[in-house]
């Protein structure tokens, strides 16, 4: 889960870059970039979750 979360961060960034490169229309570009940012947010959430401390390790 940790690796997947960390990998989703650049995946979202590539979507944002793709939006800049592929869409000349401002509306479409903005929407696609926001979706890419959303993927990054999911990745960040997953990375945070994967770093939660297991109950047996809490002391």
């Amino acid at each position: 889960m940790k690796a997947m979360g960390v990998l989703m961060l650049p995946a979202g960034w590539f979507l944002v870059l793709a939006a800049v490169l592929l869409f000349p229309s401002p509306a479409l570009r903005g929407a696609f970039a926001v979706v890419g940012f959303g993927v990054e947010a999911l990745g960040l959430g997953l990375t945070f979750r994967s770093h939660l401390i297991p109950r047996e390790e809490k002391k």
Binding site: W13, V20, V34, F37, E40, H51, L52, I53, K59
Partner: protein, 450 residues
């Protein structure tokens, strides 16, 4: 006025403001010391000095060569007929600088202080458990690679700065004084380091409780806030002059905006903690103060004083709740609150520039591989919010994984975390061999395992 006289005047004015920046470093160091435990106070101050020293040397050797200045040599990719300037190609060891290259020299001076400031940010998160040698290693990577790369994209005429020219997205990604390049990069490194180090012993118990481990000296923390204001005034003004072409006459407004953002942020944090806990919390209020300074760094040159107040208030609210969420829900043990203050505050400041920013004065006109001069434009830039969002996405999608992987690999070769015995004993005795307060009474309960 002759152009040489103007250049000398601008250089002198910039020099004055740049020389205020070390006050920000002093303020952050004091805050980090005060928010940590007394048994690690000397270690924290020693680590601050070492981090500034290592950052300065690493930046001198490699960092500046990769950051470069606008118009300097760089590696450029050609994508669909547009140039993507991704890294500078200046000579190593600051060999570019001479007494004639005043613009590059000023940038190098500001950056060598700024990279030290960025290096101090993760120290607050790793307090009480991060070893001194590991701090130096991590700082070297930050100052030599992570920081210069992103700084080149924003301040060196890189692809983020060119978004406006190449794709018509606002005026490209703008960050007047380092809310992204200094603060968010430092804050995200703090997050990576905190994940790698794990929490302090006793911070999270098996019954789900997260007892507060209060800082040992709130006077240090609050005095650090005052010093930080002086430093940030210099940083914001010098950055705006060097990177966005603000005139020296704009300095008073920038200083006013800086103070107002910090004031609104601190008062909002004090109000929220008073409303929720019955009394204002000094630690969170001081975090709010610095968070307001951080948010102001992006936009202080482009907003009105009233807008600076609004930006500061939102920063104070976001930071207060972010600190609580990180500590209690996400189990991120960040004694200095650096992640919320610098990463969350910085990203909010960058976004706020896209929402509130108006361009009354000159802004850099980055064309192709270089700066063709500062042009005067007015009004709101269309899609500026998108340019800012792309910059923030780059911080989260590129800088965070990069700094996480770099620190993860370093930790494999040289363990970041001090031994259990060392943590129990305190970093001062364990790593330095002497406590910061040898004549003070020691509270024995601090040495018991929690």
């Amino acid at each position: 006025m002759a152009s040489s006289t103007l250049a000398e005047l601008t250089t002198l004015t910039c020099m004055f403001f740049i020389l205020l920046v070390p006050f920000a470093a002093a303020g952050l160091s004091l805050m980090n010391v005060g928010l940590g435990r007394s048994r690690s106070a000397g270690h924290m101050m020693m680590a601050s000095l070492c981090a500034i020293a290592v950052a300065g040397i690493a930046y001198f050797v490699i960092g500046f060569a990769w950051q470069g200045v606008v118009g300097g040599p760089a590696h450029v990719l050609n994508v669909s007929g547009k140039s993507w300037n991704w890294i500078a190609a200046e000579p190593f060891f600051l060999r570019k600088l001479s007494s004639d290259s005043w613009y590059a020299s000023l940038i190098a001076l500001l950056e060598i202080f700024s990279v030290g400031l960025a290096a101090l940010i993760p120290l607050g998160s790793g307090a009480d458990r991060w070893r001194l040698r590991a701090i130096c290693l991590s700082t070297a990577v930050l100052a030599a690679f992570t920081y210069p790369l992103f700084a080149h994209w924003v301040w060196g005429g890189g692809w983020l700065a060119q978004l406006g020219v190449n794709y018509g997205i606002g005026r490209g990604f703008l960050d007047a004084s380092g809310a992204g390049t200094i603060q968010t990069v430092g804050g995200l490194t703090a997050l990576a380091v905190t994940w790698i180090l794990g929490p302090r012993r006793g911070k999270y118990s098996a019954d789900g409780m997260a007892p507060a481990i209060p800082g040992h000296n709130s006077v240090f923390v609050l005095f650090g806030c005052i010093l930080a204001l002086i430093g940030w005034t210099g940083l914001n003004t010098a950055g705006a002059m060097l990177f966005t072409g603000a005139a020296p006459t704009g300095a008073p407004l920038i200083a006013i905006n800086t103070l107002l953002a910090a004031s609104a942020s601190a008062l909002t944090a004090a109000f929220i903690t008073k409303a929720r806990f019955g009394k204002p919390d000094a630690s969170l209020t001081s975090n709010g103060w610095v968070g307001g300074l951080v948010a102001s760094s992006a936009c202080c040159a482009f907003v009105s004083p009233a807008e600076a107040l609004i930006i500061g208030s939102i920063a104070g609210t976001a930071i207060t709740f972010s600190i609580e969420m990180l500590e209690l829900r996400l189990e991120v043990d960040d004694p200095g609150g650096a992640i919320s203050v610098h990463a969350v505050g910085g990203m909010w400041g960058l976004l706020a520039l896209g929402i509130f920013g108006e361009f009354r004065g000159p802004v850099p006109n980055v064309a192709g591989n270089g700066l063709s001069g500062f042009v005067t434009v007015t009004g709101v830039a269309p899609e500026q919010w998108l340019a800012q969002l792309i910059g923030i996405a780059t911080l989260l999608g590129f800088v965070l994984p990069l700094t996480y992987m770099a620190n993860f690999i370093l930790n494999r070769f040289y363990s970041y975390r001090v031994s259990v015995e060392g943590e129990r004993q305190g970093m001062d005795l364990h790593e330095l061999g002497a406590g910061a307060y040898p004549e003070f009474m020691t509270h024995t309960d601090e040495f018991l395992p929690r």
